[in-house]
């Protein structure tokens, strides 16, 4: 029996759904690695400005943290959007909420992203 094929347009819902799943697979090493390292192995008592500066001083961790920020936060905010979708039934209201969430996501991501990137410069400057 030959496989029957159809062409279905991929819309925001489809992409978001896939995104939640693909990001999941990437998030496991990123998030678990981060949590294991910072919360469990190193522990909050060892973390201070110096530690952070040293950490962000390596390209590896800088890239790592940017990936983490990019994937985890976007995943989480889209997750929040899905949860809110369950309770906000008016399409107009929901569009506004989505825009607000987008701004929220962009602002926080930028705030954190700039810090990560600039941290290196700060560190270099302080040397």
């Amino acid at each position: 029996m030959a496989t029957r094929q159809v062409k279905i347009s991929q819309n925001y819902e489809t992409i978001a759904w896939k995104w939640m799943r693909y990001s999941a697979i990437l998030l496991i090493p990123l998030v678990f690695g981060h949590v294991l390292l910072q919360d469990v192995i190193v522990g909050v008592y060892e973390i201070n400005a110096d530690y952070v500066a040293r950490r962000l001083g390596t390209w590896f961790f800088q890239a790592y943290d940017i990936a983490l920020l990019g994937f985890a936060f976007a995943h989480g905010v889209n997750g929040l959007r899905q949860v809110l979708r369950d309770f906000i039934h008016n399409p107009k209201t929901f569009r506004l909420v989505s825009i607000a969430l987008f701004i929220f996501w962009a602002a926080i991501t930028a705030y954190g992203g700039i810090a990560i990137v600039m941290a290196v410069n700060a560190k270099l400057a302080s040397l």
């Binding site: 998030v31 678990f32 522990g43 909050v44 201070n48 985890a72 705030y111």
Partner: protein, 146 residues
């Protein structure tokens, strides 16, 4: 009629099986993690934007209530992550594993897996806290937070 209220009543009063509770836990842990993550991004960014606040935040992280929260967070991340992976894999690669027996089993293993990761993690974190607690208490005293 408020659907929010009815939904919450449904969440807690419906006598579902593994899937129902794993859905609730996944949602709860996802939202909890997001809340933490948002705060965490902001305060870590203070490292660059506002170093003074950053120091204060670090101190806060070392308080006992926060520590309990952190241990819970670690569980949340483990559970949400493993459960999310389970959902993603079955959805994308093995839809025919969405059967009652397989689902009940998978949820139980997810919980077991999360606990296996979490219990040692929690123990390590606690031991850090205890060994640090003298120092920490002194530091906190000095700062006058407690």
């Amino acid at each position: 009629m408020s659907t929010l209220k009815n939904t919450l009543i449904g969440y807690v009063s419906y006598r579902g099986r593994e899937g129902h509770y794993s859905f609730l836990l996944h949602r709860l842990t996802g939202l909890g993690t997001l809340l933490f993550l948002t705060i965490h991004i902001i305060d870590m960014a203070w490292f660059y934007w506002a170093p003074d606040l950053f120091e204060e935040a670090l101190q806060l992280y070392r308080s006992w209530p926060y520590l309990i929260g952190e241990i819970a967070l670690v569980f949340a991340v483990y559970f949400h992550g493993i459960n999310g992976l389970r959902i993603a894999i079955v959805d994308m690669f093995a839809p025919n594993k969405w059967t009652i027996a397989a689902e009940r089993n998978a949820v139980r293993w997810t919980l077991v897996g999360s606990l296996i990761l979490w219990l040692p993690s929690a123990a390590i974190m606690l031991s850090h806290a205890i060994s640090a607690s003298n120092e920490a208490a002194q530091m906190l005293d000095k700062l006058g937070i407690f």
